[in-house]
């Protein structure tokens, strides 16, 4: 046992949490200053809200993958449930609440509730399964949510809400408006999502996850991840805690989805497909399972990277794929790791001591 492993774990953990908050706040301040002094290009400014949304997605998925230890391949499904319910809620509140930030906050709360309900309903069958089977079922649910939202019609008129599946049979009265239009999604969204709102949502997400992890529920999640049989043997209700983590994660993904959607004028269900779920999973894996700061940084870098690679035009996605593979190899292959460690002069000195 080396001295390094004996370092006070609690203190390291606490330090990492404060560091995460500090980095997020500092990044926010820097971006705000750069944005107001004109240092930020307009394309970068346009990416601030989506980056926040992806960061929240990464934190939320990391709760399931990193803390609970279950693989989810359908997280974009919760994002889309949140996006559609949140935007619809914001639309309905338009007349009642004229102040946009409050409307946004309420819409995100509604989105969280809807996504949490979806998470609960999906969790009932999903959480009975294990490992790769659980993963494939989350993938299946992601696809099912996409299919359903692609065929869902929701309209409002003086008599209230109407909805239908497959074809538009809402038969709205005069003056009514079709909000969700099947494969056309929602268009004419009021773009009320703002960078400060994204920042606040991220801070809330971090607070929820960190405080949860350092509580009896969080310990239970990690115990289940480390050894399910031992967790049962000390009287932990596995299903209950898995459900708790799953629903909480879905709720956070839902509000991230609402934030994301209200940054665009149009949103369609196909935006939240398997590839989006995978993208978010890549943030988590690259950033480190259970490492919130890491996944936040990965989310930012991997959202900006494709934009910055634009100068390589048609090669950019190819380059992205290569970078992804190389990074996975570099961080996981022992030989390559040792080779890289050998290149680092500081590391060598430390080991020599």
């Amino acid at each position: 046992m080396t001295m390094r492993r004996l370092i006070n774990l609690k203190r390291v953990e606490a330090r990492r949490i404060y560091l995460t908050y500090a980095v997020v706040i500092a990044a926010y301040v820097i971006c705000q200053v750069m944005s107001s002094t004109g240092f930020l290009s307009s394309s970068m400014r346009g990416m601030l809200v989506p980056i926040c949304a992806y960061m929240v997605m990464a934190v939320s998925l990391n709760l399931v993958v990193g803390i609970l230890g279950e693989l989810s391949l359908g997280h974009a499904g919760f994002m889309s449930v949140g996006a559609f319910s949140g935007v619809a809620a914001a639309f309905l509140m338009q007349g009642v609440i004229p102040f946009a930030p409050v409307r946004l906050a309420l819409a995100m709360a509604v989105a969280a509730v809807f996504a949490a309900v979806a998470g609960f309903l999906i969790g009932i069958p999903v959480l009975r399964l294990k490992g790769d089977y659980l993963a494939i079922v989350t993938l299946a649910f992601g696809e099912i949510i996409k299919s359903i939202l692609n065929n869902f019609y929701l309209g409002v008129d003086s008599q209230g809400l109407h909805f239908s599946m497959l074809t538009d049979t809402t038969r709205l009265l005069k003056g009514g408006k079709l909000i969700i239009r099947g494969p056309m999604g929602i268009s004419g969204i009021q773009k009320i999502a703002t960078f400060p709102a994204g920042f606040i949502l991220l801070m809330i997400a971090l607070m929820i996850v960190f405080n949860l992890v350092n509580s009896r529920s969080g310990r239970a999640f990690m115990a289940i991840r480390d050894d399910r049989i031992a967790a049962e043997s000390i009287g932990l209700d596995i299903t209950k805690y898995k459900m708790m983590a799953f629903v909480m994660s879905a709720a956070l993904a839902g509000s991230a989805g609402a934030l994301f959607a209200m940054n665009y004028s149009t949103i369609v269900a196909n935006k939240f497909d398997f590839n989006t779920s995978i993208l978010i999973l890549v943030f988590v894996v690259l950033g480190g399972q259970g490492n919130m700061l890491g996944s936040i940084i990965a989310a930012a870098v991997l959202t900006i990277l494709p934009e910055k690679l634009r100068e390589f035009s048609e090669y950019r996605m190819l380059l992205y794929a290569v970078i992804l593979i190389v990074m996975m190899l570099a961080t996981n292959n022992a030989e390559i790791k040792n080779f890289l460690a050998g290149l680092n002069p500081f590391r060598r000195k430390e080991e020599a001591e």
Binding site: Y133, A140, S147, V282, L324, M328
Partner: protein
């Protein structure tokens, strides 16, 4: 009779899924990894076959053989470069690498062959057998697909159960460490599994694009996921399971399209998968392993 027609096209689609699912299931059985790039190997196979036949005037069957050769090689190279270095890595890292490989193949295809859809020439022409005075029509490609699937299934089963290499593959999937101690070259065996799976993917690609003749760099993605679902459906790791799962998935998909809704057919397919896994948590023919305490 309409029902029978749907049933036959379901079996035909299912045969393609089954051939792809075999690749997934063999690789999962031996390397315990979800090879998400498998669907894109199908696409590469289809492109090779397409160019061989329509550009260089190969005989269609020669085209398929060439595609198999290219995909086999591709499978071996991909395994060697991307997966072998991660043999000891956490499974999630391997999964992400496989997805990266999938993006890589898709985007390479995009650069080489552009995103314009190609009209794939059927490997066997567009004729059909007319049965019952024309009430039931089975196209040649449907018949060929079903036939090919049956042949592959039989040959592969014999290969796995009778040959030395097949036994080595089964041994590796049970316990790699013990297999190595018994003198089996584990790396070569895994490499071989990828080769066989990828070769089968080339056949599946040619058959898929003969039946649904638009070919794009993303052609393999959705059938790949469906075939993966089929493999899980039948019990991932089990070869008869992949066969059964593929066929059932194809039939369910065609029936859902015909009798429920074509837009919701994917939702129905995935819904059935979920129900099956709830009743049989390891798939139809999969074995449930209990953790030793």
């Amino acid at each position: 009779m309409i029902f029978l027609n749907f049933f036959i096209s379901g079996i035909s689609l299912g045969s393609i899924y089954a051939i792809i699912a075999l690749g997934y299931t063999m690789v999962y059985g031996i390397a315990k990894m979800l090879n998400f790039a498998h669907g894109d190997v199908i696409m590469v196979g289809a492109y090779v076959c397409f160019y061989a036949v329509s550009r260089y005037g190969f005989n269609p069957f020669l085209g398929v053989v060439l595609a198999m050769a290219v995909c086999t090689l591709l499978g071996i190279i991909v395994e060697r470069l991307a997966y072998k270095p991660l043999r000891q890595a956490p499974s999630l890292a391997v999964l992400i690498t496989a997805i990266g490989m999938s993006y890589f193949l898709q985007n390479t295809a995009l650069l080489l062959w552009s995103s314009n859809p190609k009209v794939f020439p059927s490997v066997i022409g567009r004729g059909a057998f007319k049965l019952f005075d024309g009430a039931l029509s089975v196209s040649h490609i449907t018949a060929l697909t079903i036939g090919a699937c049956l042949v592959i299934m039989v040959v592969l089963s014999l290969f796995i159960s009778k040959t030395k290499l097949g036994k080595a593959m089964r041994a590796c999937s049970e316990d790699k460490g013990a297999a190595q101690l018994m003198g089996i070259n584990v790396n070569a065996t895994i490499s071989m599994t990828f080769a066989i799976g990828s070769g089968l993917a080339a056949i599946a690609g040619a058959l898929l694009c003969s039946a649904y003749p638009t070919l794009m760099p993303t052609t393999g993605a959705l059938p790949g996921i469906k075939a993966f679902t089929a493999a899980v459906f039948g019990g991932i790791g089990s070869i008869p399971g992949a066969f059964l799962g593929g066929l059932m998935l194809g039939v369910i998909e065609i029936f859902a399209k015909a009798y429920i809704s074509s837009q919701l057919s994917d939702a129905v397919v995935f819904g059935v998968l979920i129900v099956v896994l709830l009743v049989k948590p390891a798939g139809l023919l999969g074995k449930m392993t209990q953790e030793k305490v």
